[in-house]
């Protein structure tokens, strides 16, 4: 019950945030909150495979980046009125670019996942990293789309009935999509598919013994997570109005992973809290000193060593919720 009340308060606060920022005379705050939501979105999708499937992907930023680049490339071709390969016209409609981003990221995840899932353990971590690095260098080499310097998306995508140039409306849109994703993920985790996935995470051999082949389940989860990251990337590209290979660098993959662990692995809202905490810490420490990383680094170490379960565990303890 207390959990539900806390959830309702959190949601209400999230919805009211733009008004609050205006009241506090911090108009830039809504933008920062939007980027935090996008990061939380990407981390949530990673959480599905790390927390519920036991697949530690060190290349999740690749799908985030593909989503962002899909928006960027479609915009570029829309601007120049020149179809891609002479076939696919560009567009600036979010209702098209968002599903397209999910499709492209999902395709990439299907190919990479199909190959990577032949390995496990450390090798899986490294092979996902290898594929992400390949994509990173591919986009660095793509001169037509800005290469290393990235590409600017001069105007945000259009959505009928909304004006995304207004940061508040963009924020609510991202919040809405994120909530929809979290709901979907909650349903997935609770379904038979989710329970099989959890079973595989705990003991793959046991699942095999009862006649379930883990590979298709793991691959399906990997693709769903890739699509989620793609959607997050598409929204991020709209917020930033800019895409560069930076968004798929290995440091970004690391950052997304940090958010998941900081927030609490395998919890629904953990990644959201993790994103708020990480960005908040960076912002706060950045205000204290130029050398903020020297404080943030040890904080991460301490969280790993002593704060098992991340922020979510702490919150649950505060709320008096017990988990089995």
């Amino acid at each position: 019950m207390r959990e539900k009340i806390a959830l309702a308060i959190l949601f209400a606060a999230a919805v009211a945030l733009p008004f609050l920022m205006r009241a506090l005379d911090l108009p830039g705050g809504t933008g920062v909150a939007t980027s935090i939501l996008c990061l939380a979105f990407a981390a949530s999708s990673l959480n599905l495979i790390i927390g519920h499937g036991g697949m530690i992907s060190f290349g999740h930023a690749a799908y985030y980046g593909i989503g962002a680049y899909t928006v960027g490339i479609l915009w570029e071709h829309f601007r120049q009125q020149e179809p891609i390969f002479g076939l696919i016209p560009g567009t600036d409609q979010l209702l098209i670019t968002l599903p397209a981003a999910m499709l492209m990221a999902g395709l990439a995840a299907a190919v990479i996942g199909a190959l990577s899932l032949r390995t496990s353990g450390v090798q899986f971590i490294m092979i996902t990293l290898a594929f992400a690095q390949m994509l990173f260098f591919l986009f660095v080499g793509l001169k037509a789309y800005g290469g290393d310097d990235g590409m600017t998306i001069r105007r945000r995508n259009a959505v009928p009935g909304l004006d995304l140039r207004d940061i508040d409306q963009l924020y609510w849109l991202v919040l809405g999509v994120l909530c929809a994703w979290l709901f979907l993920q909650w349903r997935i985790v609770g379904s038979r598919f989710g329970r099989v996935l959890e079973g595989i995470r705990q003991n793959e051999r046991r699942m095999r013994a009862i006649g379930i082949s883990p590979y298709p389940y793991k691959l399906a989860a990997f693709v769903i997570a890739g699509m989620g990251a793609g959607a997050a990337g598409a929204l991020m590209a709209n917020y930033m109005r800019f895409v560069s290979p930076d968004i798929m660098s290995w440091q970004k993959s690391g950052e997304i992973m940090v958010v998941v662990i900081l927030g609490g692995i395998g919890t629904l809202l953990g990644p959201v809290l993790g994103a708020i905490a990480l960005q908040g810490l960076e912002f706060f420490l950045g205000g204290l000193t130029e050398h903020w990383a020297i404080i943030l680094g040890p904080i991460l170490v301490v969280v790993v060593l002593f704060g098992r379960g991340g922020i979510m565990a702490l919150v649950n303890r505060l709320l008096g919720v017990r988990r089995g």
Partner: protein
């Protein structure tokens, strides 16, 4: 130095001649987004230090107007630069910005500032699009246009009589522009062009290609930390004694020179300014900078200093107003004594200035950048014709 470092304006009571009304009011906020961390961090630090030196010399004012300079680090990440710009624009309500070192960061910062009806004065990066078709009334460049750096190196290669050149640069926009710019003015034959990687530290493979190609000279663009590694390995491979280098100034500033050591002797380069310039403004600047920071200013520092002077001159005329139209009228007069001597804005609000040939030589036992001759006079840039303002 704090990351969000303030330069608290002393609301000094020392009344200045031509600074009435505004001077006593709220200070003009200037947002400086620059690169302070990573291998390119010393470039931004030099720009920041020199800019703040100019402000301190006027006791917290520029052109007699109180200013407050807010500095933030973009970490050479375009996305970070963009979010700082957004925060500056929205939270701090800053409408006058400067500081960006790298073109890719500028690509995200400048459009945001200009779209919000703000003013951007570039102390370093000047990519071709902002000089040509996408030039803007509120965008000013105080250093040069990127291509000019490399075009002048091409001119220098012609002057030095090199016929066959081997050219190389990292594979990113500024690197590709560098090779294009060089080829635009170089009259001889380019025997081979090679792209290196931005994250590369070992150049052995490229050096082997240079040796095999036997060019007259090498043109290479490797700014900051990259150039140090390249030059030292070049010298270690025994190439410097047989194949000379002719480079633009980002590949060889006084900081890289100190790090490279003896390996740099004999390198030819071009620049619009050097710390041995004899004009009084430059000498005073070099002396003040050395006194305060205990190091030789690089040309990045000089650009930061000139940027502060130019902004000061404009603020003096507008009496502290940063209304874009009034600011523009004042700024375009360039009514300040530049450390490089002559300075004027071209039609695209980029500099028109003289260029010099420099050489790394031994002066009283230590290596230094020595100005040799003037190679171009009143040189604008190749994109001015495309700009309609």
């Amino acid at each position: 130095m704090q990351r969000r470092g303030f330069l608290a304006a002393s609301a000094g009571l020392t009344s200045v001649l031509a600074a009435p009304a505004y001077a006593q009011g709220a200070p003009v906020k200037i947002g400086m987004i620059t690169t302070l961390s990573g291998p390119g961090g010393y470039l931004g630090a030099d720009i920041r230090d020199a800019f703040q030196l100019a402000v301190e010399q006027e006791q917290g004012k520029l052109g007699g107007i109180n200013v407050q300079v807010l500095v933030e680090d973009d970490a050479l990440r375009p996305g970070q630069g963009k979010s700082i710009a957004e925060r500056f624009l929205r939270n701090e309500r800053i409408r006058l910005m400067t500081g960006v070192v790298f073109s890719n960061v500028l690509g995200t910062v400048a459009p945001d500032v200009l779209d919000a009806d703000g003013i951007y004065v570039s102390p370093n990066a000047a990519p071709s699009n902002f000089a040509g078709r996408e030039c803007h009334r509120n965008y000013y460049t105080m250093a040069w246009q990127n291509d000019t750096l490399h075009e002048t190196a091409g001119v220098l290669a012609n002057t030095l009589g090199y016929k066959r050149m081997f050219i190389l640069a990292p594979n990113y926009q500024a690197g590709r522009d560098a090779l294009t710019g060089f080829k635009r003015k170089f009259g001889g034959e380019v025997v081979q062009e090679v792209y290196t990687r931005l994250d590369q530290t070992d150049y052995a493979a490229e050096l082997a290609q240079i040796r095999a190609a036997r060019p007259d000279a090498v043109f290479q663009f490797h700014p900051g930390g990259l150039g140090i590694g390249f030059l030292r390995q070049y010298a270690q491979a025994g190439l410097l004694s047989t194949i000379p280098q002719c480079v633009p100034n980002p590949s060889m500033d006084s900081t890289t020179l100190a790090a490279v050591g003896d390996a740099a002797e004999g390198v030819n380069l071009t620049s619009h300014w050097n710390s041995d310039f004899q004009n009084p403004a430059s000498q005073a600047f070099v002396a003040a900078f050395r006194a305060k920071y205990n190091r030789l200013p690089t040309y990045y520092a000089q650009q930061g200093y000139d940027t502060a002077l130019a902004i000061g001159a404009a603020l003096r005329q507008t009496r502290g107003s940063i209304d874009p139209a009034a600011f523009r009228t004042a700024m375009l007069k360039a009514d300040f004594v530049s450390t490089r001597g002559k300075f004027a804005f071209g039609p695209n609000q980029h500099p028109v200035q003289d260029w010099y040939a420099l050489k790394v030589e031994r002066v009283a036992g230590t290596l230094a950048l020595v100005t040799k001759s003037k190679i171009l006079e009143n040189e604008g840039d190749s994109y001015a014709a495309q700009c309609r303002l």
